[in-house]
Symmetry: C2
Subunit: 213 residues, 2 copies
């Protein structure tokens, strides 16, 4: 049995966690476990969503795979030695240690990205750079020799997880997962990257982000 | 304030709910509420994920928007008069009543799709057809005169929700949401629809689905 740990924490971004979860949970012989500081519900960035933590970090010290999601709440983890120690020690024996969005900030703070290039949410590239990481604008960045994969903002975790299934099982498994979640994207607009939008969209992002935070 | 209700139930498919949630939750003046039979956690299709229900159906009788997710658990809702009555009555005053994946089976069972064409997960088209609905293979099907939008399997809810934001607010808002979730899809494979995969992938889907159910 392969155990996949997805850490949760107050003010996580839900799709960062649930995109990869949805891809990975359908694999036989793979268990997904949501872990955190304490068992019980934790709330997403705006509090609208509560997800159950089913095991503490210490209760799942040796997962095979880590998928570290992001969210504004990651900022509180960057000096949380309990979390950083867990991720450092768990990474020693994982098959793959991965992140989505600002989850890569936590990997960076734990020292796992030293000497590597990595990706994160477009709005957090400056923070990642402060850790001495070479910031990539790619959607998914792999360092298979170091067993580390980072994905860009929020929805990129779905793309990353499909690649992860290929690595964990095989390509047919990954394609089967893609078909099961009918991931044949047809976004009605082409606004998924900073260099694709005009100033009005950037302004609106700023306006909405300040209204919500 | 616009209130968006997302019903949950035992054995829901998480991404059906969380994809649209992630798009919609960032809009100021829009609240997202996860509702269900009783307050407290309900578990996803395989049980790996528990999400908190924060209000009962009756406590949110008049939402402005409904996003009904799917999952194998929808099969138990198709003769659940409490749920069907709720969706029928709530729909009388919604701005939009929408579904993702097999959530459309519930709308069909409630009679909301009578005389319409609609979409669902590719694996459930035959069930939808039994309700007399004309089954579309489109990713998103809109009937704005009836205030109903249905989306295809699982990940299609993200595409649907971006269109919903355009309808609820404007196109700039929708593009801002797309940028915030960095939805610039780059799936590593092209296997997101039945007509795009070979028999080995279909076989694997069957194998994995029976292992998990």
């Amino acid at each position: 049995m392969t155990t996949i740990a997805i850490p949760l924490f107050p003010r996580f971004t839900a799709l960062d966690a649930i995109g990869p979860y949805e891809v990975l949970q359908r694999l036989p012989d793979h268990d997904v476990v949501f872990i955190g500081h304490a068992r019980g519900p934790v709330r997403s960035d705006n509090g609208f969503l509560g997800i159950e933590v089913d095991a503490t970090f210490e209760e799942l010290a040796r997962p095979d795979v880590i998928v570290f999601p992001g969210g504004i709440g990651t900022r509180s983890l960057l000096d949380d030695e309990r979390v950083l120690d867990w991720v450092r020690q768990a990474h020693e024996t994982t098959t793959f240690t991965t992140s989505v969005c600002t989850g890569s900030l936590v990997l960076a703070a734990a020292g796992l990205l030293d000497g590597l290039d990595a990706t994160t949410h477009w709005g957090a590239r400056d923070i990642l750079a402060k850790y001495g990481v070479t910031v990539s604008e790619a959607r998914v960045v792999e360092h298979l020799d170091r067993r580390i994969i980072t994905a860009a903002g929020v929805s990129s975790g779905i793309d990353m997880a499909l690649r992860l299934v290929e690595l964990l099982v095989d390509r047919t498994a990954a394609e089967a997962m893609q078909l099961m979640i009918e991931y044949d994207p047809q976004p009605p607009f082409d606004a998924g990257a900073v260099d694709k939008v005009d100033d009005a969209v950037i302004e609106r992002v700023g306006e909405y982000a300040s209204a919500r935070n």
